[in-house]
């Protein structure tokens, strides 16, 4: 119901056809992409463009109403040349996805009868989602600097959402966004107080360079926070194993338990991979957060070093702000 602007521009969704369970979409339109905050970050978007390859909804609102809108969802997608389809029984589609897992799909438009069998064949021979290499697509090509505060935090961009940068800025730090394969040495040359490994799309194993960097960050005890894909990368660097979830955790209403105080938080999540719970024992990490429903790993803390990681999105956008305190935890590590 809310958050489509944020979701569609989240680089973690890069390369995917997205379907929304809420049936009425586009009600409040889309704000102006040219409105930037003081740091030059688009105020209402999570990246520079729509990241998804297609959108599937039940009902698209052709008119929109909101004080902050500059266009309809339809106009935005048209401008960015991203296809979508409405009129679909998205509940039925969701049930299919929950049973069979995430799958390859095609959106086909034709004036004549569509040959479904032929499309299925084409789909079979298409490059599989798992084999795609997203980093070239989603990661920044060069360093980007936001703000001019004395102390800085480096964000390794494996598909970072703008909200991560915003949260670092709110902590009072300069944010330096660097490409996904930036070396440890290069990072240290910025003399950062801490490092964030960002969220992003795909299998963490596809980011070997980032894993290497993470290993060194842990070794050198650099205060580090991993988010989502970043958490999996940190996990691998600390000897845990990752695996692909059947259909992932996606939504804004995922309850997680903080094992340190038994408080439950509602979190925003979007991940298809996770850290194997049974691999934690032999690793350098201890369990920090678990998913209250399926008990999967939602956060880990290094047993000795200043390294924390969460599988959910503390930066929200879309989703609840309940876990903003994770950034405060990073700040504490940096100021220790």
């Amino acid at each position: 119901m809310v958050g489509y602007t944020e979701a569609l521009t989240d680089p973690s969704y890069n390369g995917q056809i997205l379907t929304l369970t809420y049936p009425l979409v586009g009600n409040y339109g889309v704000p102006d992409p040219n409105i930037k905050d003081l740091d030059g970050i688009p105020k209402f978007f999570e990246s520079e463009k729509i990241q998804i390859r297609g959108l599937v909804v039940h009902e698209l609102s052709h008119t929109a109403s909101h004080w902050n809108l500059s266009m309809t969802l339809d106009e935005w997608m048209y401008n960015e040349k991203i296809p979508g389809i409405s009129g679909i029984d998205t509940r039925e589609l969701t049930k299919k996805l929950r049973t069979n897992g995430v799958m390859m799909a095609a959106l086909v438009v034709s004036e004549s009868e569509i040959d479904v069998e032929k499309i299925k064949q084409e789909l079979k021979s298409a490059a599989h989602y798992n084999s795609e290499r997203f980093m070239n697509e989603v990661s920044t090509k060069e360093e980007k600097i936001y703000g001019d505060d004395k102390n800085s935090v480096v964000i390794i961009d494996t598909g970072a959402k703008n909200a991560i940068i915003r949260n670092i800025r709110e902590l009072g730090y300069k944010a330096i966004l660097v490409p996904w394969n930036t070396s440890f040495e290069k990072i240290m040359s910025y003399d950062p107080k801490g490092v964030v490994l960002s969220s992003g799309p795909g299998d963490p194993q596809n980011c070997p360079d980032t894993i290497d960097t993470a290993k060194k960050l842990i070794e050198e005890n650099m205060p580090t926070l991993g988010i989502c894909l970043g958490a999996q990368i940190i996990g691998i660097a600390g000897n845990t194993e990752t695996y692909k979830l059947k259909y992932g955790h996606r939504g804004q209403n995922k309850p997680c338990v903080n094992l340190e105080n038994n408080q439950v938080y509602v979190t925003s999540q979007n991940h298809g991979y996770g850290i194997k719970p049974e691999s934690l024992d032999a690793s350098d990490f201890k369990l920090w957060f678990t998913n209250a429903d399926d008990k999967t790993v939602e956060g880990i803390k290094h047993k000795k070093q200043n390294c924390i990681a969460v599988q959910f999105h503390p930066e929200a956008a879309p989703g609840p702000f309940d876990c903003k305190f994770i950034f405060e935890e990073l700040k504490q590590l940096m100021e220790k």
């Binding site: 369970t21 809420y22 004080w67 902050n68 998205t90 929950r98 309850p255 509602v266």
Partner: protein, 1080 residues
């Protein structure tokens, strides 16, 4: 935290009789609370005088007291039962206020009772306006700016500071009179000057005006550990202009974005944490439509109407979870009741849109103002589930059961307004507002213009535009598959489509099914299909192409049709009937019992009551859809009041097996002329009657028998369009009205017998045996609607001979009409003769009352009858041998209805009822009167004003008794003259319409120098209808607004005085009710 192990016995307070603003939703929340307590093996004690509820059955609660929920009675129960915990959040404002008072007077401390859930300081910091503002500021949640002023200059400064427009609220006045909205200094001057004069303390409040802001609500759960989640949010379509109880509400919100949604969500979590909510609460915001500025308006630290709606909208049982939290569980320990394996500490995701629509009953009240505003006036509501707003809205309108088939294409279509008229209607909402938006769109008025006048968000107006466009498309194009699909997705019913195409609904249905255009059945599962969920909570939609569930053929069951929205005349008693029927069938071995209902304020829509719950329209079209899907053994229509009953013939015609009395026999009873002819055949007397088809016949009949006469259509409930007519002119008006209400059925006119007693009989038959539940006597004389009358079991003015005759007639009639299930008969007793007025072959309003007093659950018996099982042997006169008196007293909600007159008549006006039992008539009555809000003073002053010498004569004994009890008697001139002569020592007071004459009633009322009023309208009902006596109306209205009891019938006045006398030397008993006797 685990469950608090020190708890053994918990006291739960109910909300008492149903009134506007406190309705059946508290039966739902209280029942869930008791269920939660019971599951944990703890004892529960309930205090609630609302006899028609499920919670006052001894099923969930261990001990039930039908007693007033006020500090005195609750204290006496605490003293007797010694509970160690108390739940205050499940009985509305009544229970909450009572709890706060008990705490203030140290009762909880004295008896060591723990308040479970939100603690008293938390409750106070939400209830007290200033404490609320302070605590919100501390929590970083903005509130509305306002200033109290005592002169215009200060008001002007305040307004400039706050920015125009501002709203001026007058301190200490009645019903917000004298206030208003000022857009500039000139208007401000006028309103403030007027307001300062009207205010008793010369004070007005100048506040930012935010009528055009959005009204958004969040339902929040929090445990003792401070874990909190938002279960649901809701948006009010009619903005801040209209009270949320009178608003059309959608869930989830539709027009706010991610930033606003989570901004308000976070603020809610902060606020509830700061206040210390434990359990459930509702927080209401106003959100600017032109920026992200917002303010918190209020927090309800208890279950509410909104939380009942949120429960049903999401499938998250808020009241149950809240009670568990009160018992000490934390959120993550509790399990999602739908998935059964995920935690309750989550936020449901919806994949549908819910639309709540209020039901108003303005036509029942004379003089009432139908404008919508900050005071709630609706008497009930419905909730529709769909996958487009258009579908949900049109479904909701049909659910209201007000004769409309949707937003457009209704039977009474085509109202025309001038541009000026429609603009006025758009800016001042009444109960027709959305219809008026549709009319405006058809007139070509732009969406922006409608928005600026109405403050309805353009998104909703655009959706109404879609409905309007679809209407013209249906009219102008051929009914092919795409057009029909579009119409159905936009929520059009077959009836609407048929009307547009001048065809029959059946032909549309046939065509549709031929084209494969049928609705899908979807689950409400709290998680938008993300995980598999075994849930039986279902709805129908055209926004899908696949069913979520299939019904195996070996699960063929029975469908019980519920009662739809609460309204005047059909309230929680029919939900009691529905739920007890489900239980009865289950106890008799039926494994698959489904329920169809659309009222979110009910227990019958708790999905754990039945095998499958269809939260759906109670219309022929939808019931046929359900039958197509379920292929049931049969459908039961006799427990859902008149709404369900009216469907009987149509469903039977379509081949549905009606279980219970046959459609043919129901029709013989409902069709007034067939019914009357049957009675003649049985030689059972009835008031003179005639069916007629034209006014001439009606006039002739009335002249023959003499006025007054009663005009009534068939197939109606609670006197809709039933009128006592006193003159030829009136006859003309009401005959037309009656034919409008029920055009397909004959209208009958009968002699209205003055000075009669009215009697109700509730019974069950299986076609061979008849069980009479009880004979119930009306304390008020005939002419006061049976729903508004006080009732008594056993009857106290009937001779044994009359009781025998009634018994005989009742049995004869039940067998003649082949009744299989519940029935209700109404009799008139005039000069020792018994006349039959009406037979209802269905559950009645008085059945819970009869069942509980006589300890025979009549609906359980009815379930046996319907299943063709023999009825148990119940002694013929069991009800006469109950050594108890039961008295049922109506609850009125006139205070909410600006302008409504409180004098009673043939149209039912009460919104609810309470009943109490006692060892004597006055024992029961004193508790009954207290339960519905009468203060029973032991000394003070009574004002007497009585019209007509006959009435005065009848009251002499009572007035003498009052004097004897030490009450001072005031009376208006003529009344005073009469009683002075008979009794002496009467003080004269002057009419409100003569303010210059002192002492004046108006002054005395304001000064609270009158404790109660006996005001019998002149010559009984006659002049009320011929011409309202304005002065008497003024007295009734003013006293009502000041909370001073007014007794408007002789019988009530007599009983009231005798009760005062009884209380001088007696103390009311406080015994729990006994469980139903086991039937084999």
């Amino acid at each position: 935290m685990p469950k608090n192990e020190s708890l053994k016995k918990i006291l739960v307070l109910g909300s008492g009789a149903i009134k506007i603003g406190e309705a059946g939703e508290f039966d739902y929340s209280g029942s869930q609370c008791l269920k939660a307590i019971h599951e944990d093996g703890l004892k529960s004690v309930l205090i609630n005088p609302n006899i028609a509820t499920i919670q006052t059955d001894t099923r969930f609660a261990d001990q039930v007291y039908l007693l007033p929920v006020n500090p005195q009675y609750v204290e006496s129960i605490i003293e007797k039962e010694r509970p160690d915990g108390i739940m205050l959040a499940y009985g509305g404002q009544t229970a909450l206020n009572c709890g706060v008072k008990l705490d203030e007077s140290g009762i909880f401390k004295k008896y060591g009772v723990n308040v479970l859930g939100t603690q008293i300081p938390g409750i106070q910091s939400t209830e007290d306006r200033q404490l609320f503002k302070d605590s919100m500021k501390e929590a970083g949640v903005p509130v509305l700016n306002s200033k109290t002023v005592t002169n215009f200059d200060d008001a002007k400064n305040a307004a400039e500071e706050l920015n125009y427009p501002v709203i001026i609220r007058v301190a200490y006045t009645l019903g917000g009179r004298g206030g208003g909205v000022a857009y500039n200094e000139i208007e401000l001057h006028e309103i403030v000057e007027r307001g300062l004069k009207a205010s008793l303390v010369g004070q007005v409040l100048v506040e930012e005006y935010i009528g055009h802001w959005k009204q958004i609500e969040y339902e929040i759960m929090q445990d003792y550990d401070g874990n909190n989640v938002v279960v649901c949010n809701m948006e009010n379509v009619l903005s801040m202009k209209v009270h949320t109880g009178d608003n059309i509400v959608v869930a989830p919100s539709q027009t706010i974005d991610n930033h606003e949604y989570h901004m308000l969500r976070s603020a809610g979590l902060r606020a509830t944490k700061h206040v210390g909510i434990v359990g459930e609460c509702n927080i209401q915001y106003a959100l600017d439509s032109d920026s992200d500025r917002y303010v918190a308006i209020e927090i309800n630290p208890r279950l509410s109407r909104s939380s009942a709606l949120a429960s049903k909208a999401t499938g998250y049982p808020l009241a149950y979870m809240s009670a568990k939290i009160g018992l000490g569980y934390n959120l993550s320990e509790l399990v999602n009741r739908i998935t059964k394996n995920t935690t309750a500490c989550f936020e449901p995701s919806l994949d549908y849109i819910v639309c709540k629509h209020p039901r108003w009953d303005f036509s029942k009240f004379e003089l009432v103002n139908p404008k919508l505003g900050p005071t709630m006036k609706s008497v009930g509501e419905v909730m529709a589930v769909g996958r487009t707003f258009e579908e949900s809205l049109q479904k909701a309108i049909r659910m209201l059961d007000i004769g409309n088939d949707g937003l457009v294409l209704n039977r009474a279509n085509g109202q025309k307004f001038s541009e000026e008229e429609i603009e006025e209607k758009l800016s001042h909402h009444d109960d027709k507002i959305l219809y008026n938006v549709a009319i405006a769109l058809k007139m070509g008025i732009s969406v922006e213009k409608i928005y600026s006048l109405s403050s309805i968000d353009p998104w909703f107006i655009e959706k109404i535009q879609n409905i309007v466009n679809t209407e013209s498309k249906i009219k102008s194009s051929a009914l092919d598959s795409p057009t029909l699909w579009e119409a159905k997705k936009m929520g059009f019913s077959d009836k609407q489509i048929a009307r547009a195409k001048e065809q029959t609904p059946d032909s549309i249905r046939d065509l549709r099914k031929k084209l494969g255009i049928i609705p899908s059945v979807k689950q409400i599962d709290t998680l938008a299909a993300e995980w598999p969920a075994v849930t039986n909570y279902l709805y129908f939609t055209y926004g899908g192409n696949s069913n979520d569930v299939q019904i195996p053929s070996n699960e063929k069951g029975i469908v019980v049709v519920g009662a739809g929205p609460y309204r005047i005349g059909s309230s929680v008693e029919f939900d009691w009937g529905t739920v007890n029927m489900v239980w009865g069938l289950q106890e008799n071995g039926e494994k698959n019992v489904s329920v169809v209902n659309c009222n979110p304020e009910t227990v019958s829509t708790d999905y754990d009551i039945c095998t499958r719950l269809y939260f759906e329209e109670i219309t022929q079209e939808r019931l046929l859809d359900i039958s197509d899907f379920e292929n049931p053994k049969g459908v039961i229509t006799c427990v859902g009041g008149q709404t369900a009953n009216n469907l009987t013939p149509g469903l039977a015609e379509h081949g549905i097996n009606i279980m219970g009395t046959s459609a043919h026999d129901v029709d013989r009873a409902e069709d007034r002329s067939k019914f009357s002819a049957e009675l003649d055949k049985l030689h059972i007397p009835q008031p003179l009657w005639q069916a007629f088809s034209n006014l001439g016949e009606a006039k002739n009949f009335a002249q023959d028998v003499g006025f007054p006469v009663i005009v009534r259509p068939s197939y109606v409930l609670s006197g809709a369009a039933m009128k006592v007519v006193w003159s030829q002119e009136e006859l003309k008006i009401y005959v037309k009205e009656a034919t409008d209400v029920s055009p397909d059925h004959p209208v009958v006119i009968s002699k209205f017998m003055l000075n009669s007693l009215e009697v109700d009989v509730d019974g069950i038959s299986n076609g061979k045996e008849v069980v009479i539940g009880a004979i119930v006597e009306h304390i008020d004389s005939a002419g006061v609607h049976s729903g508004d009358a006080m009732m008594c079991i056993p009857p106290w003015r009937l001779s044994n001979k009359i009781i025998e005759t009634i018994n005989e007639y009742a049995k004869k009639i039940a067998l003649t009409f082949n009744v299989k299930g519940p029935f209700n008969l109404q009799f008139l007793i005039n000069n020792d003769h018994v006349y039959v007025i009406e037979l209802n072959i269905r559950a009645s309003r008085s059945m819970p009352f009869v069942s509980k007093l006589v300890k025979t659950n009549l609906i359980s018996l009815a379930s046996k009858a319907i299943l063709d099982k023999p009825l148990p042997k119940i002694p013929e006169n069991k009800w006469q041998k109950i050594h108890n008196y039961g008295i049922k007293v109506p609850q009125f909600s006139f205070m909410q209805l600006e302008g409504a007159d409180i004098a009673l008549g043939v149209e039912m006006q009460s919104t609810g009822e309470a009943a109490c039992f006692g060892e004597s008539f006055y024992d029961a009555l004193s508790k009954g009167l207290t339960s519905v809000g009468y203060n029973l003073p032991d000394k003070g002053t009574a004002l007497v004003t009585v019209g007509g010498s006959q009435n005065k004569e009848k009251l002499v004994a009572s007035i003498a008794k009052l004097k004897h009890l030490g009450f001072k008697i005031l009376a208006t001139e003529h009344t005073a003259e009469f009683f002075e002569e008979k009794l002496g020592d009467i003080e004269i007071v002057h009419k409100i319409s003569e303010p210059e004459r002192k002492p004046n009633i108006a002054d005395l009322l304001y000064e609270r120098k009158i404790d109660f009023i006996i005001n019998i309208p002149s010559t009984s009902t006659l002049e009320k209808y011929v011409g309202m006596l304005d002065d008497e109306y003024q007295i009734r209205r003013k006293s009502l607004e000041l909370g001073i009891p007014v007794l408007t019938t002789i019988e009530l006045a007599d009983s009231f005085v005798k009760t005062l006398e009884w209380l001088k030397t007696n103390k009311p008993t406080i015994d729990p009710i006994q469980p139903y006797d086991k039937i084999e």
